[in-house]
Amino acid sequence: MPSTPKTPPEPDDLDLILPWRTTGRLDPADSARIEAALARDPDLARRLAIAEAERDETIAVNEAIGAPSRAARDALFARIDADLAAQAGRSPRGWLARLGEALSGLSPPALAGLGLAACLVILGQAGLLAGALLQERGGPAYETASHGGGGAAGAGSHALVAFAPGASAAQIAEALRETGAVIVDGPLPGGVFRIRLATGRLDPAAVEAALDKLRARPGLVQLALPEAVPAR
């Protein structure tokens, strides 16, 4: 009797698609085939239970991994803001054109409402300016307009940074990590981010040294400036 070459057994066609039955992702024809086979073959139900256990434990393995950190998200949106700022710079139509376009799409009642809101804002600003003038006469103290008197959020040494559009998230995250800096605010107009270089007050030379580390990385930042220290 001639010997026949030994080949591994072909997998059962139903076993090939059974895993998708556990996730409900079979197409209707395969689904009907599986249901008919399940009705007549008790062993297929046992094999289905094996696949269901695999599904459950695969989900458990994945869910044990956790989620990406806030820093990864910040790095991504820093790149996106730098990209948006670069696009705005390249665009022949400035923000005024886009504003005009947006306004032209509004209905007359909406425009009237917008006008009223603008008047209220102007009146509010006038009141604030008058208040500020009166306060100034009362004493010599003043603060920067942007960051107030430096509470918990303002403590430390800060800088303003605009990342280059081509900078990768990994580059940004690594540079911030190595400099010991964290993003604390932004994006500000122009895609600029406020970063904290240290929780304590650094002398200007140390701030420049930290910023030089960022500037020295090719293609990372477009702009890196120390934030003005509020006068006391």
């Binding site: 698609i17 458990a60 991994i65 989620a67 995250a173």
Partner: protein, 186 residues
């Protein structure tokens, strides 16, 4: 943004809508990250790649034609980036496709499963599969992709998807058997 379908979010992103990007990130970042961690076995590297994947989505949203689901599209980008990262690893002198097929012996089932329960044993065996097998198992069981969607992510024919998953499951059975658990299949 919560009820907006993925494809509509991508259309908004193509018009430079940052809020749509935030919504898409909130919806999918964890799944993409987990896919990358499982593939690279490196949480820090996976975090960097998640940002790269979503930055690609930001830049290429205008080219998304809706032929594949947004999940499938993003996981395809993630797979491509992960394989590129594996190629750049200094110790990965092997062809990445070959390296992928090499099981990780660090978590040898025989040594770790003696005291584990059946569920724990199964989890450890799933974690010990080769990268190629981990990918197909995750895409089907965790990411809930259909045969055709897995085929799109892995860039292989649908028939190959079915046989690859079959062999991954067979390998799982072998790992379990080595640990003294016979599940009577295949």
């Amino acid at each position: 943004m919560r009820d907006i379908p993925d494809a509509d979010l991508v259309a908004r992103i193509a018009r430079g809508d940052r809020a749509a990007m935030q919504a898409l990130y909130a919806r999918h970042a964890t799944a993409v990250y987990r896919f990358l961690v499982r593939l690279l076995r490196d949480a820090a590297g996976a975090e960097d790649l998640v940002s790269d994947v979503f930055f690609d989505v930001w830049q290429q949203a205008g080219r998304y034609e809706g032929r594949a689901s947004v999940t499938t599209w993003m996981l395809s980008i993630a797979r491509f980036k992960a394989l590129s990262a594996l190629r750049r690893r200094p110790h990965a002198a092997l062809d990445p496709e070959t390296a992928e097929a090499v099981p990780d012996e660090a978590d040898t089932p025989e040594t770790v499963l003696q005291k584990a329960g059946k569920s724990e044993a199964l989890r450890r065996c799933i974690a010990a599969l080769s990268a190629e097998h981990r990918m197909v198992v995750d895409l089907v069981y965790y990411h809930d992709l259909s045969v055709e969607e897995v085929a799109q992510v892995l860039a292989i024919p649908a028939g190959t998807v079915k046989t690859r998953l079959f062999h991954a499951r067979k390998r799982l059975s072998e790992h379990l058997l080595a640990a003294g658990i016979d599940r009577g299949w295949p």
